[in-house]
């Protein structure tokens, strides 16, 4: 019941936003939105402290028939695989509300659309039924399309259309796979009941796994399927970036961990080397392309795409270390990329440019923003002591055990990642302030609202870096279930 409540509370928030009188001043709207985003977040925090050892508690799960003749049910519940992202979704939506300072027009509608997207995202991480999963998956689609298309910068329209067509194609193909899976095994769409692939033959599993993997990898995006992404990231407003980079890719990776691998173990197996290779390619491609980006936001975007590769590598490993790493990397990746995107927004607003060559000396005028940019970049590099280190290391260890070549390539990727990030820091945070940029010489540090958006993310990166057990402890039992499904087949 609590889970259902958490999922649908943002819908009430969205309705509230639309019902606020047209004349409501901006400040009031922001306060209401903050409140509406805080409630689900507090509920998730409560769930963590009250139920972290027993996520399968009755108060958290709900299951009733929805379309009995097809074996489709409204089944929601939390488990270790989804809880981290469930938490992160509520957190990042709250932060997206805080970080919405560059949204000026149609603020109420913006928040309403953001909250509808939140319903979909929360729902995906709690759904225990294939059709329900798909429904939530698609609920995010139109809101994201509108957020990019209405509130983005001048290149937003083609970017939004491209985003929509690609991801809709991917998810529709995925749906075909889901339906084949559910019908051939019953009909039954309960994820729990389908665990382990049931009595499907290996050939049938492969035939079903192929479209599902395709759809999910488009959503991630894995590198050859990524061409829709860059324009979308670069032309979105900061607040949209938080959700777009922090959560949306994880709908794809979570689908791999939650559905593709445990439900179709034999069908996915032949594709695993490929998934691992795609992971390594993501990492290397991301860092090489990031290296040559003149635009700070594009650099962060490629960095974000690149480190998604660790999740793919960890998933493909099929062992406890790798899967734990992948599940955790979903969360840590969201934390650090949201942090970096917000910082880019803060810096660009002051400098009037995002070109790296025109920036410099941020540490002198903006010690906090500059310092946190360093922290975010260090996190992205996987420096020990920060959360990303733990998850990346585990993913590589797991991946190396299963696929040595891909594992080594991924490890090389950490080095190349460090190169472009340090190079970026040297040119932006350190060094002299460029003379032709008077804005930079007068720039003030991040204000209290801006700090409120970034400090929690930075803190969580540090805390989870020192105490990774806070998260791994929660996800461990669920990872073992996945391992049992793979091994038991």
């Amino acid at each position: 019941m609590i889970t259902t409540l958490t999922i649908f509370l943002p819908l009430a928030g969205a309705i509230l936003m639309l019902l606020l009188p047209r004349v409501t001043d901006e400040r009031t709207v922001r306060y209401w939105a903050l409140g509406a985003a805080a409630v689900p977040f507090l509920l998730v925090v409560y769930v963590y402290f009250a139920h972290r050892g027993s996520l399968d508690a009755r108060s958290l799960t709900q299951s009733f028939d929805w379309i009995p003749s097809l074996g489709i049910g409204y089944r929601v519940g939390l488990d270790g695989l989804g809880f981290g992202m469930f938490f992160l979704t509520a957190l990042l939506t709250l932060i997206a509300v805080v970080a919405s300072w560059d949204i000026r027009e149609n603020l109420r509608q913006y928040f309403a659309i953001l909250f509808i997207a939140e319903v979909g995202m929360l729902g995906v991480f709690a759904a225990q039924d294939l059709v329900l999963f798909y429904v939530f998956f698609e609920i995010t689609l139109i809101p994201m399309y509108l957020m990019v298309g209405v509130w983005g910068d001048e290149n937003r329209r083609p970017a939004a259309v491209k985003f929509f067509i690609y991801t809709f194609l991917g998810s529709t193909v995925m749906l075909a796979g889901f339906l084949a899976l559910g019908i051939l095994s019953g009909p039954n769409f309960s994820i729990a009941a389908l665990d382990g692939g049931g009595n499907l033959s290996r050939a049938a599993q492969i035939g079903i796994a192929a479209p599902i993997l395709f759809g999910l990898l488009v959503k991630v995006p894995a590198v050859p399927l990524h061409s829709w992404l860059l324009d979308v990231y670069v032309s979105s407003p900061t607040s949209t970036n938080v959700v777009l980079s922090g959560i949306l890719p994880k709908l794809g990776t979570y689908g791999l961990i939650k559905i593709a691998v445990p439900l179709l173990p034999q069908g996915v197996e032949p594709f695993l080397p490929l998934v691992a290779a795609l992971g390594a390619v993501n990492i290397l491609y991301g860092s090489f392309v990031a290296f040559v980006q003149p635009d700070l936001k594009a650099l962060v975007a490629y960095s974000s795409i690149g480190t998604l590769g660790f999740i793919l590598l960890g998933i493909s490993s099929g062992n406890a270390v790798g899967l734990n790493g992948a599940v955790m990397q979903q969360v840590t990746h969201g934390l650090y990329s949201a942090l970096l995107f917000i910082l880019v927004g803060i810096i660009a607003a002051r400098a009037g440019t995002r070109r790296i060559s025109e920036l410099g000396g941020l540490a002198a005028r903006m010690p906090w923003a500059g310092g946190l940019l360093v922290l975010g970049a260090l996190a992205a590099m996987g420096v020990p002591g920060l959360a990303v280190f733990v998850s990346e290391f585990m993913s590589i260890m797991g991946g190396y055990t299963a696929f040595p070549v891909q594992g080594v390539l991924a490890a090389v990727g950490i080095l190349t990642g460090a190169m472009y990030l340090l190079y970026m820091l040297r040119r932006t945070v350190f060094g002299p302030i460029p003379h032709d940029r008077p804005e930079l010489a007068k720039a003030t540090d991040a204000g209290p609202i801006e700090m409120a958006a970034i400090v929690p993310l930075a803190l969580l990166l540090v805390v989870l870096g020192v105490f990774p057990g806070l998260l791994i402890g929660v996800q461990q039992p669920a990872v073992e279930t996945v391992l049992a499904a793979i091994g038991g087949s």
Binding site: L70, V135, I139, Y145, V150, R157, L175
Partner: protein, 477 residues
């Protein structure tokens, strides 16, 4: 023998007919009382709806006129669809027809089409089928040509009439050949005589019959009248004609094929698969090129006929029961989303550029249109998704190579349809508003319909369980 039961079974049609006649009579004696006739017509549609619901709830069943007319759950389900769409069409038409001063005639025509469509779904005799189809079609010619202030209306009406008459004669020819081959026009007796391979005469009859129906359903290659007729017709008429008579025609085709020619299923499912694939592709590809929203929705309705025909292709093997349900559920989903999309034209306009910036000037209408467009694409949680869900599932369950191809085509076409539906959303949200974006006056009833239908399209997801149960008991055979 005509008994009291007969009257009860025919009560929805009798009511609709009585109300349509009263509307006409009031128009003769008091031509100025637009509000009264509109209210009366809406009430008539509502009464028909309620009667049908009561018949359905009491599980009323019966065969009348020597078995030529049957009232069962299947028929009642489609009568409901016809009654609901008639109700909304009357609401949406009230203002427009009141302004032209022809409200009584216009509303009478809508109710007459409804009577014909409701009779049609109960027919179990091929000649009865033909009579009922004509009963529904003849008033619809007049509806299309009703708007005398626009040339397109007369043009569309003329094209519709000429092709429609041709289609009727093809259909009648098919019926006669089947009658000749089977020695009876009764579906059960036809089924009894067509047990083995079809004779050439029967096959020709079947092909002509399906061709005649394909005309009425605007299936490719018999769809050419559709864009002109829908563009010319008054909006409420186009909306109504794209749902009610179409639903009834699909229903009776289902009944004829399943009850009359089960043995020939391999033949006609193949024909249906061919028609479905062609119809989906042509409808969507032509819709992509339209800049006029009315024409776009006309081609979209062609494409949606294709999706429903895809369910017909799955009427084989293990897929029969599910495929019948798919048609039932698809029609309910299509009813709410398609009526709504057409009515928005009445509120905004038919040129794509009139939608520019609608989100800034009239956010409520813009949001409704997003709902309809997303539903027509088949994006959850909106109604259209569930229609396609059932069609795909039926195809997978039927499990032949052909149905897998058809299912693949459905998936592909859903993606193909995104650009034109979302072109409208793009205009509404991403473009700057045109200067004269003021809301037309006196559109209360239309606006009420649009909002109601948008809500229905959205909350469809909550009622899909009961609807599926209803579709299950309403299946044929």
């Amino acid at each position: 023998m005509v008994t009291a039961q007969t009257f009860v079974g025919l009560l929805p049609e009798i009511l609709a007919f009585l109300f349509s006649m009263s509307v006409l009579m009031i128009g003769v004696f008091s031509p100025r009382s637009t509000g009264l006739v509109a209210g009366l017509a809406a009430f008539g549609a509502l009464a028909t709806f309620v009667t049908t619901v009561v018949l359905l709830l009491t599980r009323f069943e019966g065969e009348f006129f020597g078995g030529a007319y049957v009232v069962d759950d299947f028929a009642l389900y489609f009568k409901l669809i016809v009654a609901v769409s008639a109700f909304f069409a009357v609401l949406a038409a009230a203002r427009w027809s009141g302004r032209t001063g022809d409200a009584p005639e216009y509303l009478t025509l809508i109710l007459s089409v409804a009577v014909g469509a409701m009779l049609l779904v109960s027919m179990r005799d091929l000649f009865g089928v033909f009579v009922a189809i004509e009963l529904a079609t003849i008033p619809s010619y007049a509806l299309v040509a009703f708007d005398r202030s626009r040339r397109e209306s007369s043009e569309g009406g003329m094209k519709y009439l000429l092709t429609g008459v041709l289609a009727s004669s093809v259909l009648l020819y098919g019926i006669v050949l089947i009658y000749g081959a089977a020695g009876s026009a009764d579906l059960a007796e036809i089924a009894g005589s067509f047990t083995g391979r079809l004779t050439p005469v029967a096959l020709l009859g079947l092909v002509l019959l399906i061709s005649g129906f394909a005309f009425k359903l605007s299936a490719v290659p018999f769809h050419f009248w559709t864009p002109d007729a829908y563009q010319g017709a008054p909006t409420s008429a186009a909306a109504f004609l794209s749902v009610a008579p179409k639903a009834a025609t699909f229903a009776i085709l289902l009944r004829i094929l399943l009850e009359g020619m089960p043995a020939a299923a391999p033949t006609w499912t193949a024909v249906m698969a061919f028609l479905a694939i062609l119809t989906m592709f042509v409808g969507n590809l032509f819709a992509l090129r339209q800049r006029n929203v009315r024409r776009m929705l006309a081609y979209s309705s062609v494409a949606h006929s294709g999706y429903i025909l895809a369910a017909f292709a799955a009427l084989q093997g293990a897929g029969v029961e599910r495929a019948v349900q798919a048609v039932l559920i698809y029609m309910a989903a299509y009813l709410v989303m398609n009526l709504g999309a057409f009515f928005v034209i009445d509120l905004v306009g038919e040129e794509a550029k009139t939608y520019n910036g609608l989100f800034k000037t009239r956010p409520g209408v813009a949001l409704c249109m997003v709902v309809f467009m997303a539903a027509l694409v088949g994006i959850p949680p909106f109604s259209g998704f569930f229609g396609k869900l059932w069609v795909i599932i039926a195809g997978v369950e039927a499990g032949s190579a052909v149905t897998y191809v058809v299912v693949g085509t459905v998936v592909l076409n859903s993606v193909l349809s995104v650009p034109y539906y979302f072109g409208i959303i793009r205009n509404m949200f991403f473009e700057e508003p045109a200067t004269d974006a003021a809301e037309p006056k006196g559109v209360g009833a239309v606006k009420f319909s649009v909002y109601t239908l948008a809500i229905a399209t959205t909350v469809f997801i909550l009622f899909v369980g009961p609807l599926a149960a209803l579709a299950r008991i309403s299946g044929l055979g």
